[in-house]
Symmetry: D4
Subunit: 205 residues, 8 copies
Amino acid sequence: MRQGFPEVVFCQGKTVDQVVKIVQNLAQCNNNILASRATPEMFQAVKEIVPDAQYIEIAKMIVVEREKKKSGTERFILVMTAGTSDMPVAEEAAVTAEVMGNSVRRVYDVGVAGIHRLLAQHEILQAANVIIVVAGMEGALASVVGGMVAKPVIAVPTSVGYGANFGGLSALLSMLNSCAAGVAVVNIDNGFGAGRLASIINQMR
Amino acid sequence: MRQGFPEVVFCQGKTVDQVVKIVQNLAQCNNNILASRATPEMFQAVKEIVPDAQYIEIAKMIVVEREKKKSGTERFILVMTAGTSDMPVAEEAAVTAEVMGNSVRRVYDVGVAGIHRLLAQHEILQAANVIIVVAGMEGALASVVGGMVAKPVIAVPTSVGYGANFGGLSALLSMLNSCAAGVAVVNIDNGFGAGRLASIINQMR
Amino acid sequence: MRQGFPEVVFCQGKTVDQVVKIVQNLAQCNNNILASRATPEMFQAVKEIVPDAQYIEIAKMIVVEREKKKSGTERFILVMTAGTSDMPVAEEAAVTAEVMGNSVRRVYDVGVAGIHRLLAQHEILQAANVIIVVAGMEGALASVVGGMVAKPVIAVPTSVGYGANFGGLSALLSMLNSCAAGVAVVNIDNGFGAGRLASIINQMR
Amino acid sequence: MRQGFPEVVFCQGKTVDQVVKIVQNLAQCNNNILASRATPEMFQAVKEIVPDAQYIEIAKMIVVEREKKKSGTERFILVMTAGTSDMPVAEEAAVTAEVMGNSVRRVYDVGVAGIHRLLAQHEILQAANVIIVVAGMEGALASVVGGMVAKPVIAVPTSVGYGANFGGLSALLSMLNSCAAGVAVVNIDNGFGAGRLASIINQMR
Amino acid sequence: MRQGFPEVVFCQGKTVDQVVKIVQNLAQCNNNILASRATPEMFQAVKEIVPDAQYIEIAKMIVVEREKKKSGTERFILVMTAGTSDMPVAEEAAVTAEVMGNSVRRVYDVGVAGIHRLLAQHEILQAANVIIVVAGMEGALASVVGGMVAKPVIAVPTSVGYGANFGGLSALLSMLNSCAAGVAVVNIDNGFGAGRLASIINQMR
Amino acid sequence: MRQGFPEVVFCQGKTVDQVVKIVQNLAQCNNNILASRATPEMFQAVKEIVPDAQYIEIAKMIVVEREKKKSGTERFILVMTAGTSDMPVAEEAAVTAEVMGNSVRRVYDVGVAGIHRLLAQHEILQAANVIIVVAGMEGALASVVGGMVAKPVIAVPTSVGYGANFGGLSALLSMLNSCAAGVAVVNIDNGFGAGRLASIINQMR
Amino acid sequence: MRQGFPEVVFCQGKTVDQVVKIVQNLAQCNNNILASRATPEMFQAVKEIVPDAQYIEIAKMIVVEREKKKSGTERFILVMTAGTSDMPVAEEAAVTAEVMGNSVRRVYDVGVAGIHRLLAQHEILQAANVIIVVAGMEGALASVVGGMVAKPVIAVPTSVGYGANFGGLSALLSMLNSCAAGVAVVNIDNGFGAGRLASIINQMR
Amino acid sequence: MRQGFPEVVFCQGKTVDQVVKIVQNLAQCNNNILASRATPEMFQAVKEIVPDAQYIEIAKMIVVEREKKKSGTERFILVMTAGTSDMPVAEEAAVTAEVMGNSVRRVYDVGVAGIHRLLAQHEILQAANVIIVVAGMEGALASVVGGMVAKPVIAVPTSVGYGANFGGLSALLSMLNSCAAGVAVVNIDNGFGAGRLASIINQMR
Ligand SMILES: Nc1ncnc2c1ncn2[C@@H]1O[C@H](COP(=O)(O)O)[C@@H](O)[C@H]1O
Ligand SMILES: Nc1ncnc2c1ncn2[C@@H]1O[C@H](COP(=O)(O)O)[C@@H](O)[C@H]1O
Ligand SMILES: Nc1ncnc2c1ncn2[C@@H]1O[C@H](COP(=O)(O)O)[C@@H](O)[C@H]1O
Ligand SMILES: Nc1ncnc2c1ncn2[C@@H]1O[C@H](COP(=O)(O)O)[C@@H](O)[C@H]1O
Ligand SMILES: [Mg+2]
Ligand SMILES: [Mg+2]
Ligand SMILES: [Mg+2]
Ligand SMILES: [Mg+2]
Ligand SMILES: [Mg+2]
Ligand SMILES: [Mg+2]
Ligand SMILES: [Mg+2]
Ligand SMILES: [Mg+2]
């Protein structure tokens, strides 16, 4: 295990049995465990073996956190979403970053179609150390935020939308073509990856 | 010819000879002619036959305008671009609308990566009757503008960009997935189509 | 809220609980509310809290309409479909426009494979102020209609079809490449967006 | 060689030398030869060896026709185009069919954005035995024609257009999704294939 | 109704009620009716209203055939498939052609990976008047058959396969790029369209 | 260097200077060198430094072969093409295999649209040890060959074709979806990769 | 049947009845049968007719193996996976190769994000005769393995992943573009095809 | 101008005149200027006006650097490439980071097909503060590097390759699907964006 980070299990595409067995093994020699894309059924089965496991439903994550990492609040990661439907992905990012010992603040539902909502967040944007922008549909939030700050912006396209969003492709292409410098992109719906990278950057000294 | 509009020739994919012949025929019974996607060579050849033809280089358009349509300035079409590279497409739209008898105003290079540039245009945005938004790369300008006004916004994706913009696809998908209502989209680089539609809307009573 | 328009909720991808809570909040300070892509279950739950809510099943819309907007009939929006399967999308557009205070007329199942059906509608086409064309498969109706009138045509591609329609892509590309000027396109199945834009145009003075 | 048809050479992607050598060989034992996608240079080189070769420039075809096939005119193939830019592909089809012994009639520039132009051709449409429809952009002509007749319609999408036509993809998908039965499609710009198939059908007894 | 053909209903995407109502209406003034993509439930509901309706399960078709069209056997349509999984689409084509008054013969499961199976059918291939080739996966059968005969070949790509077949795209592109002349293509899984076109060609005189 | 193989330089995207410098370096400590995708200019520049370099024009390859590897003829690699335009890619494969010490035999222009041409090669097909199939357009040759033999078939899709071949995509998808087992695929136009893999397999003991 | 190989049934897209009937027929004249993509239900039904049939659940394969093929262990096929989720596809390959008389060894979960896991397998990589690499997501394992050995590497992209993996497309493109020579690719999730080809190569003499 | 960074001009798609005018304006009030995607002609024209401008040919960048930013070497950015053809993009990133005041070290041509080349760089990988990975073809280098370190990895896909790399799409999808956490991606060939983001991260305190 890399120093200071919990072990991570990606549950999607695994059976309940497989998840239980993997978590059980990890629990024997790790203080902290994170399981992403976990169903409630997986959690129930894990809890019987690892009673101190917790479930964050909206993020679909199982967390075992025996050794709490302390995190100052002055250096925080800001997680933003364009809409409320992007929240599950945003929470996957936020929980990941928190369990990895970061202070996280959330600003949700500030999509660009109501630019005043975003502008009202100017202060917290300037105070943040790293920013995660989660957006589906046309994913324009990443460009606007990227232009407002001179800090690392990690853009997470989501599959939220319909029709010509083609499962998140529209937001993905938007973010890759962002005219704002300082923006990098992770896979569609990959909240975990964004949280992990934000944590690495936030903990650089 | 539909009442009040010039005849329009789409020159791309035609030979110089074909263009000359078509314009020559039209010039015999029309007062106003518009030719889009015309090369300087085409213009030279046309000018020899129709001496009062004019060439707007940046828009790549040949204009014959014998009967000037009067246009009040109180009802104007606003043409906006995200970057300076989007100007040729924007001018195709603007010239089209002007020749069709509309008053046009231009606000260029106000892309969302510098949102203050856009916000500084608040007044003209509210004053406009119809808005044409021309943008390449991530095409986010259409969503932000669409959210600031309650008027028809015609979005023109451009092929400006590189890499994962795939010839304008990124801006096109962005604009189609705009979370702002009141936005409709025309083909990539289709300045003419946007200008024509804006003119129709602007002249409704 | 923008003057004169109802608040709009996009229900797809939200839980019943989320929809109820949002509608409940809106109902406290708004006279008119529109919820699109709502399931019957969502409606049942909303109705318990907001008893004057109504459900238009084919459009999958919940409507709360306390302050009826008056709409003259001389300026009407025409909603057309190519086939009967395009009706749900067309009704989303029509209901949206009606609730926003427009007079709407419907001409359904006039696809281009039986061109006489369309030609028989010549009169109403000429009388309309704005036209919404809803079509799946090859989406050719937008081009034919666009060529018959000199008014704004809003084209809505639908995902109706199979095989190489690729979830609405065929109709979308058709409409974007329309050889008729005056046509603009919204997202696949986006009846709401078309209705909203048509309303804005129809209410211009 | 199949009885009654000329030998056919596809020149694209071949060198002038290769084309000359192939035509020379064929000319020794065939009366009729057809070479498609041939450049003027190829024709010059071929002509020195096969002096009775002819070049149809717009179709980019070299024809050697020593044994004229007689063709009645009562059973004719109708070749239609939506625009003038589709003519090279249409002529490839028409010349192919003629050299194979069919009577061919042409109706060009009758795209659906001016439906009256098409309706004016009603008589010849009903008189034709097989119809080839050549169209780019949104390719809607195939559907409208297919709905007007109960005869075989061969649709040829062309790469004419720009932006979201993606090299002919828009017209191809349109034609494949045609809501008119009786329509089948060949490759983008494949005039030869359409002409050959039309000839086979036209000569069935 | 076009002379001599039954009325056709496309059931996919319609409710049971809608199908029943349409068939009921047609049954009052037509002798023959064909409904494609019909579920067993649709058939049960239709049968209660139109007792002489029949269901061909593998083709998912409802047939009402009161006035049997006579068809000689000397001029027959040959329907071929590459695999057994292509049979539902092939039967949609075959039943369509039969109900429209054609003699049909079937040769199934002769895919090119066992070329001897195809070569063994040489005689029937030469005897056929029109050939429908139904194939998924790489769709190579159309090219091989197209090269063996000088008759119209209608290729139907199917969505049979997995992985990089992308829902029938692989077979579709194969068939469109066929190096054999005389082959034209209909939409993925469109057995009806192929049967209808084959019938038109087969009944030409 | 892996035992027994020449060093390989991929010239595409390199400058003449870069290629010369790389070859010069390699020539000092290697007996055999292979450079693929080399232009005639690159060869001229290389020849001045390495006078015993040879150029195989059709394969666009520079070969330095000081230590001839002996190759029995009983175990040979068969390189086949569907058309003559596929020859450059086929020769890249063939030359690669020969320089790597294999006996190679060529059977060109045996595409499936004339299946008798392929069947006439039955004997050599059965005698070969490994088979490379090079084909563009619909790429059907790989499936037919794969079904005729129980040996490794390496399929090379080529970009030969036009329209819906999309730069080799049609042949690539065809070959990946081959219904014949025993077929594997390399990148579009990757003759070198196919030759190298065939050599590895052919030299297994 | 080709000498020495079992008959193979591809069950996906077939009904239980169809599978039973096919297996029953084969069982009458074959000693060994392999059925891939079989559901447990299919196995239960087959077992009633062919009692000596066995089911390998993870590979979803039914095996009838009456005449065990002997396989030395010195020449073995190595099957590798990047993650545990790739195991079903890997087992399809492994079981196929075993039933065809090969010795198979497995090295699972050695993806490149932990390169030490892969390097620890150096010895078995060098000892293997043919290598099958099964990987989803970015599919990078094939390139790394291909660079470590001079033996045939058969790469199987899997549909494991989410978002921009587009059902296996990311791994497929990665593997086709592998910068390591000696790698060839089969269809997404096509474990059977890889096992079959590996067997052919492994049994060459 | 954001504190401490030079003004940046993106020259692609601009005329020589436009570039000269923009640089001239910037030079009047800025000490440092960076122009990317500049041709040698653009540089010549700029140099006449701004004599202290320099041209870094391989990176295609014009640099005006009057106020040298001091950069310690202990905190450095590591720029890596898979092949030599990726160098232009890598140098765009490196020069950008250097001009923005960072210490940069380069490790080129360490693609994964020769994994030992990469492993030999273990020490510098661990010493780096931020890592930029530039790779075309299958882009696997990002995943392997991402797994070796716990620092921010910025992946830049390049358009280097041919065939199924589709202009950089293969590397892009690979990198987005990286199984290593801590990796984020910028647009194809976007060296500037990567250099800018790396600079921001490297200068965080
Ligand atoms: N939501 C996620 N998206 C992408 N990767 C993830 C996610 N959650 C966990 N992972 C990665 O998946 C790996 C676990 O894979 P596994 O061995 O299959 O459990 C961990 O190393 C994580 O880096
Ligand atoms: N399987 C099918 N695929 C495509 N079109 C069909 C199919 N079956 C029927 N149709 C067509 O669909 C039309 C009936 O559409 P509808 O009016 O919606 O019942 C008929 O004109 C047929 O040409
Ligand atoms: N036509 C080709 N296609 C793909 N790879 C090639 C080709 N020719 C050579 N190569 C590979 O490119 C590598 C040489 O790359 P480089 O170091 O850039 O010269 C060699 O290891 C070969 O495996
Ligand atoms: N290679 C590049 N790729 C993407 N963006 C760039 C590149 N070089 C410069 N830029 C951005 O382009 C903007 C300059 O655009 P312009 O105003 O058109 O000169 C700057 O703000 C940079 O952030
Ligand atoms: Mg920024
Ligand atoms: Mg608005
Ligand atoms: Mg119009
Ligand atoms: Mg018809
Ligand atoms: Mg034929
Ligand atoms: Mg085989
Ligand atoms: Mg290797
Ligand atoms: Mg890492």
